[in-house]
Structures are given as C-alpha cells and as structure tokens.
C-alpha cells in the first residue's frame, strides 16, 4: 500500500510539473460594440497616449468601448502569439517594428492601403514606411521610432584632458577613435585590472538592434535583399571582422564590462554610452547632474544607425475592421502623433510631427537623431523569421562577448538562421 501511495505521489508530482504548451485558448467575452486593444506596457506616458486616443475614438464612435490589455515587454510577443492563435479576442495590437514582416507572412495583419490617403502615408518617414510595408502592401501604422547616438560624459573627458567629441555628423568618430578615447578616459583606481570608470558600453549590447549597424557599417548586409538567406552576409569577411571588433571591446581592449551593469552612465562611471534616443529623456528628467552631449553614432566604413520601435496593426481576423482601423488611426494619424510626442517624447515617425516642434528638433540632441533617421537609419531585416534571427544572432554575439571565436560563431549563426528561414518557405 505504501509503495502504491509513493508511486501515485511521484506520478502526481511528475504530472504537476510537466510542461503543457497552451494552444487554442478560450474565446474571450465578445460584445458587438467592444474592441480589444492588446498593448505592450512601456510606462505611464505611453499608457496615457493610448488612453487619450481611446477617449477620442469612443467620442467619435458612441456605443463602442475599447478594452485595453497591457502586457509587459518580456512577455508581449508570447502573449500576442497566443491571443492571435485563438482567432478572436483581439482587434488592434502593438507590433514590434521588426516583426511586421513576420506577422505579414502569417496573414495576421489587415492590409491598410484602402484606409489611407496618399498624403497620410507619405507623411511617415521613408524608413518607417518601408518597415510598415510587406510585399508592397501597408500592413501596420508606425507609432514611435528611435535613433541611437554616442552619449558622452563631458566631465570625464575634461578630467582626462581629452577633447570632447563633436556633435555634428561631419565630426563622426570612427570605431578605432572610440577605442583610443575609451582607453585614455578609462580609470582603474584600485589597479586590479577591472575599471572603476569604464570607457565605452553599448546599451542593448547583444541585440541586433545595436549590433547589426556594426556589421553593416563595415560593409556587410544583414540579409539577402530578397530576405531568403543570410549565407554570404552574416558570415562574410566584413561581418566577421566587425563581430571580432565587438568581442575585442570586451576581451582585448577591455573598455566595456562583459555583463551589463545598471546605471553606469547615469552615475558617472561610464565615459561613452552607445544608447537609444530615449535615454536623453531619462537623463534630462532623472539625472540632471550628469554633464552629457550626444555625438553621432561611430562608424567603420560608412555611417549606419539603428532605428525602429513600435507600430500598431489591426488583426486580420477582426470582426470589425472598420472600427479597428478607426481606433488605429485615432492613435497614429498626424494630429494624434503630435499629441503622442508631447506625452511620450518618442522619436516621431511623421515628418509633420518633426516640423511641428522646431524648438525640439532644431536643437541637439534631437536635431542629430532626426538627421540620422532621415540619412543613415537602416531598419532591421524584414524576414518572417525575424524572432529566430534575432535570438540566434543574439546568442552568437553573447558568445563572442564572452570570448568565443567570431568567425566560428557567425558561421554557426548563419547556418542556424538559414534553417529557420527555410521553415517559412
């Protein structure tokens, strides 16, 4: 009897911990006059911007109620996939901009062309228009964007007797110059060969958002023009050389910490910080004592900067496409975009928004970010397999950061990514 009880207990234990893959999902409560908006939770300002759009929409559409569901960023893609898989219970949803092609390939996004006047579409910056378009059709509406610059701690440069880098794109530093400056400005007070003040760090240090411009700046491409292969691109000599340089910043030049240390730049422990445009808002509002400027994104052979952030799409399976598009437009049309900028301070996606705030975009650092978005920004590769691409390339760069051979890692990543891309053919 005791043995049977024990086996039963073990079996229950086993079953209780066995992972089950959810699929299908139950249908949500659905009302004819209800629209479901699935949004990524990215802080209170963004929430306020969405709520303002919902107020406008509900005023213009009496009797229709918008139900807003917010999901933390880390879980957003998984939850959105589950919600979309159920085929209902979602009408409008936030789309991470590099995933537009992935959703498009899987017919998850409503084609928006018939809802948009030409002027409205042309008002989006070219790079965002390109991201929103899949197989020649507009399937998402850009909401916010980003650029990246080299944030420089002026006081640390002065203390080291170094000239502070210029902010004009013509004064753009090469990556070799950055290494040289980082070595000079870095401080190791205790002499233990671990810096007390670091020379250089990359904010999202293994995400393709930040690492792809390195290889693209060195003359490589992230993917074939038709999006069908990365062979000959990620494993090219130029890509490997850039990836090796990336690893050297941690292991050979030793100018960057190998694991991210929170708040290094904010606390004056980092001289140069390659970081997205929104860091300027954080520094202004929360760290007024840090004396900083933003220099242009450094380069190897040509200037390439990251861009892209969030778009909004309408689920192709929505029962109420017209209403869903109306909600989308209430959040992303020109006037809403201006209001969004006032609330969120995101880099705009519309030319009309840039022009509406000359006091912001004619001065640094936003003047520089705008210039980069128009002139040097390259979006992440548009492939249905972007999630896999991102994860596998991220692993490769993480390994390189931790000392693995760049050539071996980039070649292995190329094979793995190609295997994933083939699944979508």
């Amino acid at each position: 009897m005791r043995r049977i009880s024990l086996i039963a207990a073990a079996l229950l234990f086993l079953m209780g911990l066995t992972p089950a893959i959810p699929f299908g999902g139950a249908k949500s409560a659905w009302a004819a006059t209800e629209l479901q908006y699935l949004s990524v939770a990215r802080g209170e300002p963004r929430r306020q911007a969405i709520l303002a759009a919902i107020v406008d929409f509900e005023k213009a559409n009496p009797g229709v109620k918008v139900v807003l569901s917010e999901i933390p960023f880390d879980q957003y893609f998984q939850k959105a996939a589950i919600a979309l898989s159920s085929g209902s219970g979602i009408d409008v949803f936030d789309v991470d901009s590099p995933l537009v092609a992935s959703y498009g390939h899987q017919n998850a996004l409503l084609i928006l062309d018939k809802y948009y006047a030409r002027d409205n579409v042309q008002d989006f910056t070219k790079v965002e228009r390109d991201i929103a378009t899949y197989q020649g059709k507009m399937i998402s509406a850009p909401m916010g964007s980003t650029s990246v610059g080299l944030f420089v701690n002026v006081d640390l440069f002065k203390a080291a007797g170094l000239k502070v880098p210029g902010t004009d794109p013509k004064e753009r530093l090469t990556w070799d110059q950055v290494v040289d400056l980082a070595r000079k400005v870095q401080v190791d007070k205790s002499g233990n060969k671990i810096a007390d003040t670091w020379g250089f760090a990359i904010q999202q240090y293994d995400r393709p958002y930040m690492t792809l411009p390195l290889i693209e700046s060195n003359g490589a491409s992230a993917i074939a023009p038709d999006g069908t292969t990365v062979d000959g691109y990620l494993n090219s000599a130029a890509a490997i050389e850039a990836a090796r340089w990336y690893g050297d910043t941690f292991n050979k030049f030793k100018i960057s910490p190998r694991e991210q240390v929170p708040n290094l730049f904010y606390t004056g422990k980092l001289a140069m910080y390659l970081a997205p445009s929104y860091e300027a808002n954080t520094l202004k509002s929360q760290y007024p004592n840090v004396n900083w400027i933003v220099a242009p994104h450094p380069y190897f052979k040509k200037a390439v900067t990251p861009t892209g952030a969030w778009h909004v799409g309408v689920f192709a399976g929505t029962k109420q496409p017209d209403l869903a598009v109306a909600l989308l437009k209430a959040y992303t049309d020109p006037e809403a975009a201006k209001r969004n900028y006032k609330i969120m301070n995101y880099m705009p996606v519309r030319e009309s928004t840039f022009k509406a705030f000359p006091e912001t975009f004619d001065v640094m650092p936003n003047k520089l970010f705008y210039w980069e978005i128009v002139n040097t920004a390259v979006p992440r590769p548009r492939t249905p397999a972007y999630r896999e691409y991102e994860d596998l390339l991220r692993q490769a760069f993480a390994n390189i950061r931790q000392g693995a051979d760049a050539a071996q890692e980039m070649k292995a990543a190329t094979e793995k990514i190609n295997a994933q891309i083939r699944r979508y053919k």
């Binding site: 043995r3 229950l12 810096a195």
Partner: protein
C-alpha cells in the same frame, strides 16, 4: 478526478498530440507531420547538447543535493536553540523566490563587477569568468541550484528522521552499535521511504528546471548551460514552434518516466518496524 483529468491529463495528452503537428499559432494552422518533429529533435545539435547537459546536470545535482540535505538533516536532528537557528539558516534559500535567487547569483557571479570576483581579488586570487565561460558556466549554475534546493530537502528528510521511533535507536545503543553503524544499519533503512521520495521528487524538479537558466545564462555561452526545459521554452515562445516544443517536452517526459522507474526499481526497500 475531473480536476485531475482537466488540468493534468488533458494538457499532457494535448502536448502529446501537438508533438505530431507543425503548429503555426499566428497563422492559426496545424499540419499533421507524423514523426517529423521527433526525427528532427534527435538530429538537432542544440537539442542533443541540451539533452546531454540535462543528464549531466541531474547526475551531479540530485546526488549532491540529497547527500548534503541528508547530512544537514542528521546534524540538525537534535534539540537546542542554536540548532533551531541553524535549521532556519539552512532552510532560508528555499523560501527565496527562484527568480530572485537567480538574479542575486547572477550579480554575485558577474565577471567584472561581481561580489565573488571582488572577494577573490581581495585575497590575491585571480578573477574568474563564472557564467561567461563555457568551462565554468555549468559548475556555477550547479552551485546555485544546489544551494537553493538543499534546505528544502533537508526539512523533508528531517521529518523522516523524526518519524523513526526512538526505541529502535535505543535498542541499537543497548546492543552496543557505534554511531556509524546505527546510521547505516538503523537510520538509513528506516529513512528509505522518505529518501526515495526525496530522490524521485528532486530528480523530477531538476529535470524540469528552467528559471535559473532563463535568468542567469539563457542557455549560454554556446549552449553550455542549455537544459531541455529551456529549449522547450525557446522553441515554443521565442520561435513559436509549438509542435516541435511539444515533441521535446514529450521526449523529456519519457526520459523522466524512465529515470523515475529506475529509481523505484533499484532504490525501493521493503521494511517493517
């Protein structure tokens, strides 16, 4: 029974069914592909590496946790205020959330600014790479997991020790048995049902371990710490390959079932007292 069927058996059967399909959740399609997922997983170097890692991880962690937990349980199986304090200290890691513990240990292990390297450098020893090197990542992970689990299993074994009648121990003392002989000839056999439960439950938990890998290493570097459960997660929720993830999950279920059966077969001891 209805609850058991609905919340335990149904998900298992559904997982088993999905493992024979190519599931595209966003496109809302499921295509029957027979054994293709299983054929792919035995040829997938990442899954094979994760399977080997999982077996190695279990072969080290489970015995280590059980032996240390048993040792601690024997040490604190007595009365006294100091013993109660030690019991609490040993048990403390078990009440800390696994996520929080993983974050704390990741910070401890940080190669450039971590506490452990700070201590090593302070005493004149070279800094270590810990989670960032292929050779040290798995031992570092094992260290954290052993620390986290020992206290929990200690309490269960302690309950088993308390369950052994004092009269049996007293009889052994009267018979002149040494402490060592009493432990191996009296305590251990009488503790065997509890010990078996601990071994089986610990094995299951360690086979299904996910959080420390997710938080501390993401399976890296170069898949050195990737365990099968992490690959289930990665395939299901990063690559949205639910069918393939279900196949890995199903394979893992069978591996666990075999491991548990072997443990039942070889560790089961009939006894009476």
């Amino acid at each position: 029974m209805v609850g058991l069927g609905l919340f335990k058996l149904y998900p298992i059967m559904e997982g088993l069914r999905l493992s024979f399909y190519d599931v595209r959740p966003i496109a809302r399609t499921q295509v029957f592909i027979g054994l293709a997922n299983f054929i792919e997983l035995v040829q997938d170097p990442v899954i094979v590496k994760a399977a080997l890692n999982t077996v190695l991880f279990n072969a080290i962690v489970t015995p280590l946790q059980v032996i240390l937990a048993l040792g601690l349980a024997v040490l604190v199986n007595r009365q006294g205020r100091a013993v109660r304090v030690f019991r609490s200290v040993f048990f403390m890691p078990a009440v800390i959330s696994l996520v929080v513990a993983s974050i704390i240990w990741k910070l401890l292990y940080a190669p450039d600014n971590g506490v452990l390297n700070g201590v090593l450098i302070a005493v004149g020893l070279p800094a270590q790479t810990f989670l960032t090197s292929q050779s040290q990542a798995m031992p570092s992970l094992i260290g954290m997991v052993v620390w986290k689990g020992v206290g929990y299993w200690m309490v269960i074994l302690l309950a088993g020790l308390k369950d052994i009648p004092e009269s049996v121990q007293e009889a052994a003392i009267v018979d002149g048995a040494s402490p060592g002989r009493r432990f191996f000839a009296v305590t251990l056999p009488l503790l065997s049902p509890t010990l078996l439960f601990v071994v089986v439950a610990d094995t299951v938990i360690n086979f299904l371990l996910f959080v420390p890998v997710y938080v501390m290493t993401q399976g890296g570097p170069s898949n050195a710490t990737s365990l099968l459960m992490f690959e289930v997660y990665r395939n299901a929720f990063v690559y949205t390959r639910f069918g393939y993830a279900a196949a890995v999950s199903t394979a893992l279920l069978f591996v666990i079932a075999i491991a548990v059966s072997l443990q039942m077969r070889f560790l089961w001891v009939e006894f009476e007292y």
